[in-house]
């Protein structure tokens, strides 16, 4: 059995086991163990995949440089979130409010979610990619409504409805694209495989391919949270349990964006490489940044703030791809995932300590919950692009590549948008940090497990901001080579 298949089957196996395990604590432990196991397999696979694509089951599954890079991010965030889930649900599991049914539901959907995300990344078949993408929606919708109370059910409903409809449009786009490809494939070439699609791309009719890509962009763009299709995102990300929010924001959006970006070289091949598909991403990216800025300014719910911040960063990544900074956009994907994950961990701890997520009702952050407060502050600083965080570096790269490509107006709009978000996002956070503590709230000591969860990624962000390791640079270049870039 190939390792690539194992990468898929291990989470599926964990899912089945989690559905029958008797104790909530055992399920939480399984979450960590399973994540470690899958991450181990991925760690073995990724270096070889960066060299040359790895195939399995005929050519249905494929891990190439781009998917390997994304897989690394997924596994990193997922591993940390699994540990955080242990930390997050642990007390509730002890006092019984995280019961057996809920734990089984969580464990099964957690691994189902992981399996479907991995399938998105390793699928070489565009149809299978769609199936996997819809499965991530289903699994994560189950996670969003884990609490099964009114707001979470409402959020889960909105999420499921909007994303399902959006993704149905992506299915149409997939069919249209494969229909075009079917007309030009010969012999053993399949119109459904990435590897063959990129070969036959230059023979396809540009008109049909453009139409198909529009549907794909709108469809998967809904899932990626690109404005104006982002309306489900704040509700779903804020109502989900915090470990789930971290994965939703940190990597699920990336997976959707990955699906879009995979189609870029195919469309470019069919339209003669004039950058039509890349240019299409620019307005979506800019609108996402502007919309996020507008909503962040009026938001008081911490998790919703972070959710809108995700809309912004997905917009930045799309913009980076569109402006020709493919490498920078991929680097930004990594930086956003790490910083957003830490931010959610801190918010989760704060919300538990203070019993609320309202920024106006929390004060004296640095005094009452020192680690989570400081962690949140640093993470937000990173998210708004303060040097020396690596987010600053990747945003700088995107701006530089944009200017080099002659897209000055777009870059100016981008910098303005990011500047506005700098102000409106820091305002409530700084307020929380330096406002006097609300009377009667005791100082909460962090647990031992919190330290590595929060400090380690933040250190990583700082290091990446100052020094780019040789290996990462190499991986970025290889992954970007799969996509090509806007001319």
């Amino acid at each position: 059995m190939s390792l690539l298949l194992a990468l898929l089957l291990v989470p599926v196996g964990c899912m089945l086991v989690a559905a029958v395990l008797p104790s909530p604590r055992a399920i939480l432990a399984l979450c960590v163990a399973g994540a470690v196991a899958v991450a181990g397999i991925a760690a073995v696979l990724i270096p070889s995949a960066l060299e040359a694509p790895v195939f399995a089951i005929g050519r249905q599954l494929m891990l190439d440089a781009l998917s390997a890079y994304n897989l690394a991010i997924v596994m990193f965030v997922f591993l940390f979130s699994s540990v955080y889930a242990l930390r997050y649900f642990g007390p509730a599991a002890r006092d019984g409010s995280f019961g057996r049914g809920k734990a089984r539901r969580f464990g099964a959907s957690w691994f189902g979610f992981l399996a479907s995300m991995i399938l998105v990344l390793v699928s070489n078949n565009v149809g299978l990619l769609w199936v996997a993408m819809e499965t991530t929606t289903l699994a994560s919708a189950l996670l969003v409504c884990l609490e099964f109370d009114q707001p979470s059910v409402r959020a889960s409903w909105t999420y499921l409805m909007i994303c399902s409809v959006g993704i149905a449009l992506a299915l149409l786009g997939t069919f249209l694209l494969c229909g075009e490809a079917r007309n030009v494939t010969t012999g053993s070439e399949s119109p459904f495989l990435w590897t063959d699609l990129s070969h036959v791309a230059s023979r396809m009719r540009p008109g049909g391919v453009k139409l198909a890509f529009l549907f794909l962009l709108v469809g998967y763009g809904t899932k990626a949270g690109l404005a104006p299709m982002h309306t489900w995102l704040p509700d779903a990300h804020s109502q989900a349990p915090t470990p789930v929010s971290a994965v939703l924001s940190g990597v699920l959006l990336n997976c959707a964006l990955y699906s879009i970006s995979r189609f870029l070289p195919v469309v470019e091949g069919a339209t003669g490489g004039d950058g039509w598909a890349f240019r299409l991403l620019v307005p979506f990216g800019l609108v996402s940044i502007v919309v996020a800025a507008a909503f962040i300014a009026h938001e008081h719910d911490l998790k919703r703030l972070l959710a809108y911040c995700s809309v912004e960063h997905i917009g930045i990544i799309a913009l980076g791809l569109g402006l020709g900074g493919t490498t920078a956009a991929l680097f930004h994907t990594l930086n956003h995932s790490i910083s957003k994950m830490v931010a959610f961990f801190c918010v989760g701890n704060l919300a538990r300590d203070h019993g609320t997520r309202d920024t106006r009702a929390i004060g004296g952050l640095l005094k009452t919950s020192r680690l989570a407060g400081a962690g949140l502050l640093v993470a937000i600083f990173a998210l708004v692009g303060m040097p020396p965080s690596s987010v600053f570096m990747s945003e700088l790269w995107i701006a530089r590549d944009g200017i080099a490509g002659g897209h000055l107006p777009a870059v100016v709009a981008f910098l303005l948008g990011v500047g506005v978000i700098f102000i409106v996002l820091l305002r409530p956070i700084l307020g929380m940090a330096w406002a006097p503590a609300i009377a009667g709230r005791a100082t909460v000591r962090a647990r031992a497990l919190d330290w590595p969860l929060i400090v380690l990624p933040l250190v990583l962000l700082g290091v990446l901001g100052l020094w780019m390791p040789e290996g990462l640079q190499d991986a970025l270049t290889r992954a970007a080579a799969v996509l090509g870039g806007a001319p």
């Binding site: 149809g127 499921l160 399902s164 409809v165 609320t356 997520r357």
Partner: protein, 224 residues
């Protein structure tokens, strides 16, 4: 055998119009089931009886037809019906537009899809039904209208299903046949999505019958 396909596709359009013109959710769900049935029969009509003597393809087609039949015509309507009974909402309460207008709007959408496929898309290949793309597009647009304009959650779910059906009709037209794993995967995903939606709808109404469907903002707070 393209004639039967023509008639089936006309039936698909007719069902769209019917769904747009009735306010009773039960009738809409039943119409949806009928559309699933038509969709299941469509590959047979397009490929003709020759498909039953085609060796290896037989298993593929039969499996796809059976799966569509079982899921779209039986299982999904069953779950929707149950959700309808549990939520206690039998009809579209104060529809966005009067039903006359809704019917006319659906008719306009049908006309639009005929226009789009005549003007903007390449002509159909010889031997395939000329109605494939317009019928699929019409179904897709009507589904989109129902999801966006529907007042009750169940209408939105039905709209999603109709939209999905439209995508399938177009897909069948441009692709001929789907790889089995894709077709089954898509069907399974739709089934699970509808089951989940049905559970959420039923729960939403059990909790708070009045608040359902008005999309009120979720309150700030909670220790999550």
């Amino acid at each position: 055998m393209s004639l039967n396909a023509d008639l089936l596709l006309l039936l698909v359009i007719g069902i769209d119009l019917f769904i747009g013109s009735t306010g009773r959710l039960g009738a809409r769900i039943r119409a949806c089931a009928l559309q699933g049935l038509v969709l299941a029969a469509l590959p047979l009509a397009i490929q003709g009886t020759g498909v039953l003597t085609g060796g290896e393809r037989v298993l593929h087609t039969v499996l796809a037809v059976l799966a569509t039949l079982l899921l779209k015509a039986v299982a999904i309507p069953y779950f929707l019906m149950r959700a309808m009974r549990q939520s206690g909402v039998q009809r579209e309460a104060e529809p966005e537009h009067s039903l006359h207008l809704s019917l006319l709007l659906c008719a306009v959408l049908v006309g639009l899809s005929f226009w789009i496929s005549a003007v903007m898309l390449p002509p159909p290949e010889a031997g395939s039904s000329p109605l494939g793309v317009p019928a699929g597009l019409a179904t897709l647009l009507v589904g989109l209208y129902l999801t966006v304009g529907g007042r009750t959650e169940l209408t939105q779910v039905i709209g999603y299903l109709v939209l999905e059906n439209g995508v399938f009709v177009i897909g069948q037209r441009v692709l001929g046949e789907f790889p089995l794993v894709v077709e089954l995967g898509v069907l399974l995903d739709v089934l699970v999505a509808v089951m989940l939606m049905a559970v959420l709808v039923a729960f939403g109404h059990r909790q708070d019958p009045s608040a359902a469907g008005n999309g009120a903002a979720t309150p700030v707070g909670g220790a999550r």
